[in-house]
Symmetry: C3
Subunit: 316 residues, 3 copies
């Protein structure tokens, strides 16, 4: 999330009740998660395991629960509970303020775009030119839709991330991380009917130019889909994953979180992808493997009874 204009770090320190250490005179331009931070961004970390990664990242300002060394051009904001500090910042700069109109006053829609009945368009949504948005679609706050995009009926763009922190010491077992990111859909993309695309937690969920999705496809938060991909019906992709250009996923494929599927890869129907796949090949099964290897494996399984027989014969 970008702030509308840079905010003095001192002001943020005050807001979250933090001790400010380092470059105290700086201004922050936004807040983001470790994989997406840029210079000027705030990031938060509450586990020593990730201290170094955060301090070495592009982020300029680290909300942290311990005073540690940090480069002098950066700053630490030391608090007891960085997660709560993050929530406070989101509440301040991107508060939940639901629009009660079908089309929010702050949304914009380009020339030639057709918005059919019963479509909800939230605050600050931007829709480009020559799009078709079918009935009963929901486009939530801050999402950005390019030109010549088709979104079929009943689809939801910008639902909250499925992202919870476990709080065993509290009345609330799981505490939701507030989503302040966006969904960005590039030109010529087409989204089928009954799909759901979650917004980024603090970054963007991206659907690349020319990518086409069939019905009931689910895309998790902060996932980046390349250009000209094809996803068949009922594909599900978890959060913070990267799908490169021209990837084809056939029906009901499931893809786990924070992995990468390389350019031009094809994953056959119903396969499950638990870890990264190199580009340019065809995969199949669970866990998804080179399809020819996996097909041979199915043949081998069918030969077990024969093998058993051979072994038994020799026993005699």
């Amino acid at each position: 999330m970008r702030f509308e204009k840079p905010v003095a770090l001192r002001y943020i320190a005050q807001l979250i009740n933090a001790e400010l250490v380092g470059n105290t005179e700086a201004k922050a331009t936004g807040i983001n998660e470790i994989h997406k931070v840029e210079e000027g961004d705030l990031v938060f970390v509450d586990h020593p395991k990730y201290y170094d990664a955060c301090i070495q990242s592009a982020a300029s300002f680290i909300i942290i629960n311990k005073k540690v060394d940090c480069p002098e051009e950066k700053a630490l904001l030391v608090v007891n509970d960085p997660f709560e500090a993050y929530q406070t910042i989101v509440e301040q700069y991107r508060p939940f303020a639901p629009s009660m109109k079908l089309k929010s006053d702050t949304a914009s829609v380009g020339e030639g775009t057709v918005i059919m009945p019963n479509v909800y368009i939230g605050n600050e949504v931007r829709i480009g030119k020559d799009c078709i948005i079918y009935p009963n679609v929901t486009i939530l706050d801050h999402c950005v839709i390019g030109n010549n995009v088709v979104i079929q009926a009943g689809t939801v763009i910008g639902s909250d991330a499925f992202y919870y922190n476990k709080k065993t010491d509290r009345s609330v077992h799981y505490k939701k991380m507030k989503s302040c990111g966006r969904v960005v859909i590039e030109d010529f993309a087409e989204i089928g009917a009954g799909c759901t695309i979650d917004r980024g937690v603090s970054g963007d969920t991206l659907i690349g130019e020319g990518t086409k999705m069939d019905n009931m496809v689910h895309i998790g938060h902060d996932t980046a889909i390349g250009k000209n991909c094809l996803f068949a019906a009922q594909v599900g992709i978890a959060g913070a994953t990267t799908i490169e250009d021209n990837v084809i996923l056939w029906g009901q494929v499931g893809v786990s979180k924070t992995l990468t599927i390389g350019k031009d890869a094809i994953v056959l129907a119903q396969s499950g992808v638990p870890s990264s796949l190199a580009g340019g090949k065809t995969y199949f099964g669970y866990p998804a493997e080179d399809a020819s290897v996996k097909r041979r494996e199915l043949v081998w399984i069918k030969r077990i009874p024969e093998l058993w027989k051979k072994v038994m014969e020799k026993k005699e």
Copy 2:
């Protein structure tokens, strides 16, 4: 289903044209299915295999197609077709009477709850305090939503059970069992976008306190989900199943009907659960088994070619 007030059994016998045997002066408080009945309830049974279970159940009054022995404090309502008798009672006490308003006059919504545009709220629906109901959600008759519940866009609460009786002797091949149950969602539960939760046939479908569901999760009729469960996207759970507290189901897991998954169990992505699973363990595959056993199985499959080679070598 509870009746608004207790109904004289004689009146019900007349309604369904039944011969009344046993405690003829009693009053019935509701009607329910065998797994959920309580004292004062009607239940129906049309197969001799289940006669005993129904008569021994907590139900006080049994709609049945044969005059059999029964405890004297109970009563039988003997009819030719108990299924049709059940349908008649549902039509009488919970008739289909669709509301033609976005929010029915008989629905109630608690303080602090945000209902976004295009949400349908049916008859007698009760929604608690401080909930957020996103656009294009449908909440059908009699459903109950607690406090601090979030329901994301496009979700359907209270769709009919997928429950049909085969009628080979009729023009209609499958006859739908009328759903008169409810969906009850407890405090702090969160339901993702594009989910569907079916109402109970005559009991309740229950979503326990603090349980969180990602997008496109399907929950069947009369299923009871415990507290603080996590269900990832595209999970499907069939009818009349019990999921105990803190269970985690990863993406695209499928769970069959009328089984139990024990407390703290974890089922890994794309697994299929055809029968009950003990709590406290991690499961994987189809049929879902202890994940470490199943992972070893995958390794064993990869060793078949080597095994084949060993056997062939020894042949020579």
Copy 3:
């Protein structure tokens, strides 16, 4: 797609800038794809591999990119790009003309049918008698719903086919084939909540009489479902497939395109069907096979360690 009245072939040749060869005085009654064409229809073909099939099909008029021999009662419309010619005809005879009303003026709804709030009903839609259409359903142009049909909340009928032509030589990578077909749902069918049924590309997607679908079922374009089928939740069926009468598909089953599942077949939960299945049997697994064979296979896999041990013992 049927034209409203027969159109002179000469007029169509002019529209798509084609050289007309053969029976030039004829009139065309519609346009359809090779599997569904009838006498009087146009069909298009752009690959020599399919020239013969198209010329021998029931179609009377072939839009083609080469002048070849054809029976004298038929005609060829020779163009450079048959795909583009097809698009031009669709644009002319079934242009995208979205209705901006919840219920289009050209839609008809039969007596006794209940249309609940927030339902969208497009141009020329015909809905029969005594149906129930639940809230937030979308029924798009030209779809036909029979009598006594139930469509549960949030479902989409008539979304576009997922059908793209690859155009590597253009700015647009994938070019969408315009869908001009329909969805036809016969009497007594019931469609669950959150389902999506795509229209045919140029033919019909058919849901047979008395067929019942649970929630989140996806049916691809031009697929024909027989009578009295049962599909459990989250089933997905790709395009141009034929499912015969009384077929039962359990939860999360996936079915590939252009295949046939025979009458009375049962496919168990989570199975994948990549090729045709004979009727009357029960199938399981991926690829779906006779369920008893597949179950035995699971037992054989469990015996690999024992087999390994036997082989090793004999080595010593």
